[in-house]
């Protein structure tokens, strides 16, 4: 297939940036979206131009490094996939594809399509952990039985890959699905309950300080999340937060 690409180019954080048009030809429908960009970049390098910078690493949908807002959706039009798992068979010959970085004040652009998501890390520093040392002398794993449904729900919350699609898709650039997932994972497990109060207060405080918007429950995040993290996690965080705020 032959495609027209409209790609955000921005030299560095201080540059203004603009959309630039490119053409790629002979794209196979079996290619992944990033492989299509590889083809473009190979073309650009051979012409002596600067390739388009984009984040990517594992290319199997689990590291959460790839981003991209493709034709108006985080990770493109397919569901339940990251950009690296998006295949060109989702597009048609002659299509024009818009490719933009994830946009949010808390995700400043570094270059072209690469954004800085360290705000996510800082939220985790504030409380995304259980305070146990790795002494090797903790109690036997089976001494902490966990109800299977809770364990499954905790796992579902923990499948979040931290890509930021929720923030990018949210009209308010809210990070509540991301934070809600982590809060939920620990809130559902007996090991996590001990610090639950401080954890949710600290993580939400940090989230607010990073400049993310507020949640207005549009549900866009859940739809665009490559791992299908449920809105239930936001509701759970709200509950956890309110009861923690009333307590402390």
């Amino acid at each position: 297939m032959n495609l027209t690409l409209k790609i955000w180019r921005q030299k560095n954080a201080n540059d203004k940036g603009k959309m630039v048009d490119y053409k790629v030809n002979d794209i196979s429908p079996d290619m992944s979206f990033l492989e299509m960009l590889d083809v473009l970049n190979e073309q650009l390098v051979n012409k002596g131009e600067e390739p388009v910078a984009f984040d990517h690493d594992c290319r199997e949908g689990i590291c959460g490094m790839c981003s991209l807002y493709i034709n108006g959706e985080a990770h493109g039009p397919d569901r339940g996939v990251t950009t690296c798992q998006l295949h060109m068979r989702m597009f048609k010959d002659g299509d024009t594809i818009y490719i933009e970085p994830f946009r949010a004040k808390a995700f400043p652009v570094i270059k072209d399509l690469i954004v800085d998501r360290s705000s996510f890390d800082r939220i985790q520093h504030a409380g995304g952990f259980i305070s146990v040392n790795t002494s090797g002398n903790t109690i036997d794993a089976n001494a902490i039985p966990v109800n299977k449904h809770d364990a499954d729900d905790a796992f579902s919350a923990a499948t979040c890959i931290g890509c930021g699609a929720c923030v990018a898709s949210c009209k308010n650039s809210s990070a509540m699905l991301y934070v809600g997932a982590k809060v939920s994972q620990f809130a559902l497990l007996p090991q996590g309950k001990i610090e639950a109060t401080d954890r949710v207060l600290n993580m939400v405080k940090q989230m607010d300080e990073e400049g993310f918007g507020n949640c207005t429950n549009t549900g866009a995040c859940e739809v665009e999340c490559p791992k299908g993290i449920s809105l239930e996690n936001i509701a759970r965080m709200n509950r956890e937060y309110l009861s923690a705020a009333l307590k402390g």
Partner: protein
Amino acid sequence: MSGILNSSIGRKFAMALSALFLMIFLLQHFTINLLSVFSEDTFNSVSHFMGTFWLVQYVFQPILIFGVIFHFVMGFVLEVKNRNARQISYAKNNGSANSSWMSRNMIWSGLAILAFIGLHFYDFWFPEINTKFIQGDMSGLLPNGEYRYFEELQHKFVDVWRVVLYCIAFVFLALHLLHGFSSAFQSTGANNKYTKGLQGFGKAYAIIIPLGFVFIALFHYFNH
């Protein structure tokens, strides 16, 4: 507890609480209005009771006004903050792929409702306040000795344009409620096995109540 309103979740919780309060008020308002369709007398006596009973006038009414103002002010504050959270907008954004129009445009449906409330106050509330508290006429009676409430109501729905405006406003109210009802519950943290049922109920509420108001307006327009 202090500072809870400075946090994002605290704010959205407050937004949800005020919304739930307003939805209860709306139900009450609707119920009384509906009486006007069935019985002029009942409507008049209930209206008079509401308009003169001290608890309603001096306690509930200020709370309601506060609730309305709070909901609007907080709505605008959050909207401004949320807009600030993304400084460069997307060249192409396909919002309809992942969310409803209603959920993305609460600010516009809200503004339409605010404009309507202005009109509604102009029509009913200001004259009411004028009669009762400036002219000091707490009798609720017309010169002919009958209650004035039903009469005033019918009088307002003579003008076709007013009726049209009211109907449009109710459409916006429906749009606002279609997202707002379930959103309020989600914000308060209620997301459990009842959520699906609640969402269904919310949809019904969001459609039936505004539709009922439209019906009442049209009823009086055609029956005056």
